[in-house]
């Protein structure tokens, strides 16, 4: 008999559900998403999951694998021990739609609240010049594939549904940092970051950085610099006096 993978996959919808066990024959080089597809093709055609690129570029197939927020397409089966049961469940921070598919519309709503890029005028010769050293740090944030694993793992919204009203989450702190650090941008979002987007809720536990499949240093390179900007804008006494005097 050939060896088999042992899978426990959460099946259900908003009204409830349970883990179901599946066995799939082993093959060389598979990732978790392949095994989910095998289950769809041969056992349960209605097992729901999202996916697109299958190469870690689109951020669609996010799930929690053995409790760890991960991309199913980038989690290789040879990472697990021989015979280990692999448990796959939907992202827990977002309402479930069906099986492994969740309603991530929260993120699309937050995106709408972020003031857009507003470039300064062009150079005298009509060009826009930026140097690689300056764009490097912004490009780090632009690598984000919007898998929302950082949003899923962030305890500010994972454990406190109410906070979703006043907290943008790590994905959008990276987006805000990107805009704030863009060499051409002229919009000022610091007050908004403090008030509407609730940056203060983050107590830098770095979980977001740990799960990021693009290895973006969300905490170190986005959140902490943003916190520093908020501090110097709102809590620096000199800046406070200047603001009061309208300088």
């Amino acid at each position: 008999m050939t060896s088999e993978y042992h899978f426990r996959v959460w099946r259900g919808d908003v009204s409830g559900g349970a883990f179901q066990e599946y066995r799939v024959p082993e093959e060389e080089g598979l990732v978790v998403l392949d095994v989910i597809h095998r289950i769809q093709q041969t056992q349960q055609p209605d097992l729901a999951c999202r996916w697109n690129c299958k190469a870690g570029k689109c951020g669609s197939c996010s799930a929690e694998i053995n409790g760890h927020p991960s991309l199913m397409c980038m989690t290789r089966m040879d990472e697990f021990k021989e015979g280990e049961t692999v448990t796959v469940q939907p992202l827990q921070t977002f309402p479930v739609i069906k099986d492994l598919v969740t309603d991530v519309s929260f993120n699309y709503e937050v995106a709408k609240t972020i003031p857009a890029f507003k470039p300064k005028p062009r150079e005298a010769d009509g060009t826009r010049r930026m140097y690689q050293e300056d764009v490097d740090r912004v490009q780090e944030f632009r690598k984000c594939i919007e898998c929302f694993l950082c949003q899923d793992v962030c305890h500010v919204i994972r454990d406190h549904e109410d906070n979703k009203k006043s907290f943008a989450g790590p994905r959008f702190f990276a987006r805000l940092a990107e805009l704030e650090m863009h060499p051409l941008d002229t919009n000022d979002r610091v007050a908004l970051i403090k008030q509407k987007h609730g940056l203060g809720f983050c107590n830098i536990t770095m979980c977001c950085s740990e799960v990021c499949p693009e290895h973006i240093h969300i905490t170190d390179n986005a959140i902490i610099p943003l916190k520093e900007r908020v501090v110097s804008e709102f809590y620096d006494p000199l800046a406070w006096v200047k603001r009061r005097l309208g300088l």
């Binding site: 729901a48 996916w51 690129c53 689109c58 980038m74 290789r76 764009v135 632009r142 984000c144």
Partner: protein
Amino acid sequence: MNAGRAATEVSERHAYDVVVIGAGGAGIRAAIEAHQAGARTAIVCKSLFGKAHTVMAEGGIAAAMRNVWKEDGWQVHFRDTMRGGKLLNNWRMAQLHAQEAPDRVLELEEWGAMFDRTNDGLILQRDFGGHRYARLAHVGDRTGLEMIRTLQQRAVELGIDVFMEYTLQRLLTDAGRVTGAIGYKRQTGELVLFAAKAVVLATGGIGKAWKVTSNSWEYSGDGQAMALEAGAELIDMEMVQIHPTGMIWPPSVRGILVTEGVRGDGGTLKNTSGKRFMFDYIPEFFKAETADTEKEADAWYTDKRNNRRTPDLLPRDEVARAINAEIKAGRGTAHGGVYLDIASRRSPDYIRKRLPSMYVQFKELAGVDITVQPMEVAPTLHYVMGGIRVEADTAATTLPGLYAAGEVAAGMHGANRLGGNSLSDLLVFGRRAGKSAAEYAGRASAPPAANEAQIESAAAAMLKPLGAGDGENPYRIQSELQETMHELVGIIRDESGLKEAIRRIQTYKERLEQVRVPGGRAYNPGWNLALELRSLLMVAEASATSALMRQESRGGHTREDFPKTDGEWGKKNIVSMRQGDTLVQRTEPLPIVPDELKKILEEGAKSE
């Protein structure tokens, strides 16, 4: 189904001036333009917003911006595109594309895109196959992500309505014009209807009809099938692009794209004896402009004035056939590929900086460190040059009110697309389609009331596969179709194979009528596949029958029984359309290239 049930089956009805189907580069760019022209515009897409296939594009956006090579210009880009397409291109599309691409790239920068930079702070451009000069604006090897995110964020800024995970399946028509589209909402399975004065199809390609492909599940030919069914015409559906370098090992990653940027940045193809075999495959058509020694090829990367281009960067069709021939001759790897080596030619730092996602992709999926070891690659189906017939300037299809842009449309790339010309195509013709659709909507009367009979028959057909009981499994039919297309309508074709493919496709169509999928309507992948299979079979049939008709080899279409290009066939498009339920083909002469552009094509050839 009883009369009148359809009306109650449709749970959501929307009305817009312009409905854009598809949210890749072409779709979003079209929607931005239509919205800015004052049309009430909606984007309707199968996946979440920002996940469309464009996201996977790696290498860059081709545009003669002249930031790296002042010698470049639209004329050179036009000529490269036409020659790469083996002159089967619609010349006017190739001209508009070459002229407008630089503005479209700069516009992305206005909207927040962040390309890699030259030393003096401008947008950096990289080398790619078939392009005379380094011409691709890029961000490492994740240019598609940068492009889609920029467009997505622009659409959000403008407040364009986006309907995510809505799959539109049929166009509605009345009195010879388009009036909207019907489909279903993935998350609930409810049927939805969009009434529209104009519709833009930007649904991408057809790769999921083949077994080894770089395309995702979304590429099921929905747009081509919807257009055919509504009475529009397709052209040159035999022209599919097999990209030379896809991953091959382990089996689960087979087909995933390895960017041409690897070769643009210095990587070279080798067989198992270590030979750089591309020097043996330089065709007569490109001899004058291609290096014939390793020394010249390597010098070309830094000195383009005095050296000719490396044969590793011949157009994709040439490289794919060469790899195929090496493997067939027994000089391939045990897994059935060849080597793509950049490790021995560039420093690890350079590789990681220029090709970060290739580095991660091989490291994490194949356990290969590309800064140390060569990659193993083999051809993979990547793109369809054929598609919906459009008018060059307006992106109008042959059906009034219906527009098409991006991969779903045809003409721009002729018989073979150059790398980097796809992202620029999306922007140039996405914008043109959005503009034309908005103008059409502005002068069109309100669409006639939806044709209830059409809605009813569409609804009945969509709901038919649902239900328990014995029937065909859609996954099984899809996998048989994929085998057939791979084996018989792949890189090398012949008459008997194509006839067999057409015969088998007919049997799949019959079996599709018997498909049954268990489970409910909400987010049911089996049901979704059953619906997409219908489109896949329609485009597969169009592709195989066109391939049988074209008795020559040109670009992405290689006939073993007609191995040469044929001057007469080079003047013809193959037009596919439906008559009743039957697919019919005819040929039509290509638009004639005007003399001043002919001169550009000829002058270019002479100066090489």
